[in-house]
């Protein structure tokens, strides 16, 4: 029998995504990109001992979603070979990590471009919506869409 469950009925099921990892080449540079250019806020910045730093940032309108900026370096996360392969893939722009939303795409595009963010696609009307694509300082790409008004 198929039952329709509303989210509110499913209190014991998954309700939210609150952490997501983005693999970056250099945390200092990623900090500058995500905080000073994209305007995200730092949630946690904890030194975990030599060579390990737990750094998470949140989009301003979504303080409960922490984006963990994970350094791709040999160490606790990756062995030497994995780190090497992963860095290559990240640099080559293999990974698209998600879709961000803004209130006004053209204004946001103009501002980010003025701040030196690299766009691989200018705001374009597609059949699914109004969209632009940009890259972070490591090579990861994101889609940027406009909230439907």
């Amino acid at each position: 029998m198929i039952t329709t469950f509303g989210l509110s009925n499913n209190i014991n099921m998954i309700t939210k995504l609150n952490h997501v990892s983005v693999f970056v080449l250099d945390q200092n540079s990623a900090y500058d990109f995500y905080v000073n250019k994209l305007g995200f806020t730092v949630n946690t910045d904890a030194a975990m001992g030599p060579g390990m730093r737990w750094l998470t940032v949140c989009p301003p309108g979504q303080p409960e979603l922490e984006i963990s900026l994970m350094a791709v370096t040999e160490g606790m996360m990756f062995d030497a070979q994995s780190a090497h392969q992963m860095r290559e893939l990240v640099q080559r722009g293999t990974f698209g990590f998600g879709v961000f939303e803004c209130n006004d795409l053209i204004a946001t595009y103009e501002e980010l471009k003025a701040k030196g963010v690299e766009f691989t696609k200018a705001p374009t009307k597609e059949f699914y919506g109004f969209e632009a694509l940009f890259k972070d300082d490591s090579g990861n790409w994101f889609s940027l869409g406009e909230k439907k008004r």
Binding site: M52, M76, M77, A107, E110, K125
Partner: protein
Amino acid sequence: MILSWRERTNMFNCSVLTGSAFSNNKKPIFIPEMTNQLPKIYLYRRLVQAKLFIDKNYHEPIDLNDIADEAYFSKYHFIRLFKNIYGKTPHQYLIQVRVENARLQLKKGLPIANVCYAVGFDSVTSFSALFKKITSRSPANYQQTELKRQAEMQQSPLKFIPGCFAREKEWLRNRNFQ
């Protein structure tokens, strides 16, 4: 700033429209929907410049006329357009930027009065009131909570990291900073 037709339309290269506009390499066809949007890009650039001006000079005693001048608009036209894009009047936005920057400085443990003047307010009373209105906490309360959280983060960082990352990577076993 004068842009070529192609540069401007690139901004809005709706795939369907440009498909027809540039077909056969003929002269671009006049398309009402696209040209309606063209003048907007000038407005956008000016408004973005005005916003960036606030972001950069928020600690100075700027008033609206400075900002409107920056955007080459009449004051009232400017306020209306700014609010259209950013959902706030330039003045409301300036206050918000000041408060956001105050938060960052309070986190560093600077005295409240210093922070107040450093971000461009000229009275501690009005600063505290606006801060509380926006963040729903007083500056002192906010600072205490943040400093406590930071001290805790230094002492036991694992409290701030989801266990899966810590356990998976054996941070719990290998490290002694619990």
